[in-house]
């Protein structure tokens, strides 16, 4: 068996490896290279060194503004999505009537694409703001909270499903033991359930964190960064830099590299921190 595996290892991994190299590794490396060049198509790039990186951070400071906007957004949505999703999961793992129905209902928004969701919520929010004579792009604050509501609505169901799976896997004998020892439901939650679903929390935090930073379609469809660039998040800012000014493709690319390092760094840090809290039953 071992021998056979070794013999065919190359054969089995090659397609995947090729796919990885062609569809991920090559574009990624070319992308990094392009961030140091001035180009209009990828075949006529001219080396300019770190100039693009300098331009990325000057330019009226809109990149830093987007960074701040995105960071605030991420902080709020990570807490709200995970908090609410966990509460829903707790509720829907009780033996209540209609839990399956509600699980389906909560999960459904996740099946709709980001662009469509953005337009739907734009209509809803404009309809609400109509009563105060405003629209969602009147002020970046509306755009911000609009996005928060939208993303919560979209992501809570998904995270809830992961938490439900985690909660259902808490061993019954642990819960029974806690009950015999006279633990209150609060104590059970704090000392049994949460430590046992830590792997789910790690996954959910990772997903919401990276999603918040990479958010693009919803942002594009809901506000498109309006007014001005005030409600543009990082991904949209990069997109607008790349296509908005001729000759600024390289700067957009440099921003994208910075963006990658940032998201990868934060996500790795988070994984390391929460992994440490995971326990074995």
């Amino acid at each position: 068996m071992q021998k056979a595996l070794k013999k065919y290892a190359a054969f089995f991994t090659l397609p995947t490896l090729l796919a990885f190299a062609v569809a991920f590794l090559a574009p990624f490396l070319i992308g990094i290279y392009l961030s140091f060049t001035k180009f209009s198509t990828i075949t006529d790039a001219q080396w300019v060194g770190f100039g693009n990186y300098a331009k990325a951070f000057e330019q009226g400071g809109d990149f830093l503004h987007s960074l701040g906007f995105t960071a605030c957004f991420a902080a709020i949505t990570i807490v709200s999505i995970n908090g609410i999703a966990f509460l829903f999961a707790l509720m829907l793992t009780r033996k209540l009537r209609g839990t399956n129905f509600f699980r389906t209902v909560f999960f459904m928004p996740n099946l709709i694409g980001g662009i469509v969701l953005g337009y739907i919520w734009q209509l809803i929010l404009n309809g609400v703001l109509y009563h105060v004579g405003q629209t969602v792009i009147s002020d970046a604050t509306y755009g911000f909270w609009g996005l928060v509501v939208l993303v919560n609505w979209q992501m809570i169901g998904y995270m809830m499903v992961i938490y439900i799976a985690g909660i259902q896997n808490v061993p019954q004998d642990l819960l029974d033991a806690a009950a015999v020892d006279g633990a209150s439901s609060g104590q059970v939650l704090r000392h049994v359930t949460i430590p046992m679903v830590m792997p789910s929390i790690t996954i959910c935090l990772f997903l919401t964190l990276t999603n918040s930073f990479r958010l693009f379609d919803q942002n594009l469809a809901l506000t498109g960064g309006q007014p001005g660039k005030d409600s543009a998040m990082l991904a949209l800012n990069i997109y607008q830099t790349f296509y908005g000014t001729p000759g600024y493709e390289g700067v957009g690319q440099a921003k994208a590299v910075v963006f990658f390092l940032l998201v990868a760094g934060i996500a790795l840090l988070q994984l390391r921190l929460t992994k440490r809290k995971e326990v074995e039953a």
Partner: protein, 472 residues
Amino acid sequence: MKQWKKGLAAVLAMLTAGSIAACGSSNTASSGTAPAGTGSAPAKSAYAGETVYYLNFKPEVADVYKEIAQEYEMETGVKLKVVTAASNTYEQTLKSELAKSQAPTIFQINGPVGYNNWKDYCLDLKDTDLYKHLTDKTLAVTSGSGVYGIPNCVEGYGIIYNDAIMKKYFALADKDKSVTATSADQIRNFATLKAVVEDMTKHRDELGIKGVFSSTSFSNGEDWRWQTHLLNIPLYYEWKDINATQNPAVTGYAQKEIAFRYADNYKNIFDLYLNNSVTRKTLLGGKSVDDSMAEFAMEKSAMVQNGSWAWSQISKVGGNKVRKSDIKFLPIYTGVSGEEKQGICYGTENFLSVNKKADEKLQKASVEFLNWLYTSSSGKKYVYRSDKLGFIAPFDTFSEKERPDDPLTQEVSKWMSGKDVTNVTWSFQAFPSQNFKNAVGASLLKYTQGKEDWNGVKADVVNDWKSEKEKS
């Protein structure tokens, strides 16, 4: 079990490989290569068997190019491949297509700014027949003595009005005494326009409209009528002052800074739009161009600023009440002295360029194809007929009769040939970037919401120009 696992792995491997292959060939654009010819017709071109590749800018006519490709191959034996970029993605598509080994041989640039970006790819078309047939040579994109972009259609824009409502208004017994005009075509300056519009607003219930002008649309990506088209007018006059004989777009392209001297004229017309609108000012951020056109079609408004392409949009609105014979153009008057002679804004941002980096044979075949399309009788019919491309082609090979029969396009032809009329040419080709236009749009939106005063807008326009110009 082992067998089963092996089978599964093989299937997965195949799927993965399959999906890579799919990535390579998938394209959001539609490709329109003609089927192979019947073989009975002898090949007439020296380039028979070659493939000319045209990257089309207008999604609405993508199907027409399929017909053209079929006929062209039958006639000459040259294959025509047409790929159409999805709406608003031309630059993106061009960027990726030009990097391929089978790059487009014919593509479009949007004026001097586009040329500056793609100059390494644009062939000099000075000696082509197509350029010789161009009626107004100042329309072409030139640099030094070379010609790098030839316009393939001209379009016009202005204030579209519904003559039925205007007639109803002029027939009113109690209209304001200061209004001396007796029909819409007597409106020949801003003062008259303003008097008429404001009086119409007073009588809007009798006229059955909600406002004179359709919504000044400002939702995301829907503000181009203000940050590009309307802004054209003050800057046209500014650049005309600098050099009266040169094409203002060329003058404008050379300006590192602008003064925005006619800012108050812009404000005149913009305020008129806002104050006599169907929609309250603060709610304009939720309106799209489609909304505006629908308001016009449903006769909720009597006027809307838009261009010759708008008729197809208006006529397709469900419940359209506007008749073909009632739709007319009025120039956009802003209160500039001598504007009684001003016409509508006409020009183009569609320039054909031939790829210099393509194989020389293909370059020649491309030029030959363009020649065929715009000069031969079999090609021309595809160009001017309303149900085909429907272009007003600026070449002397097209007779007066060979024009689209769409009402707005006919209006454009009328204004273009009008005596004693100076039409405003499209100078916004010189605007430095999309970023500039978006920034102007954002300032205008703030102004409509009362968050910025007019001096602020003026300063923004001047500063945005300067900073975007420095980048290029």
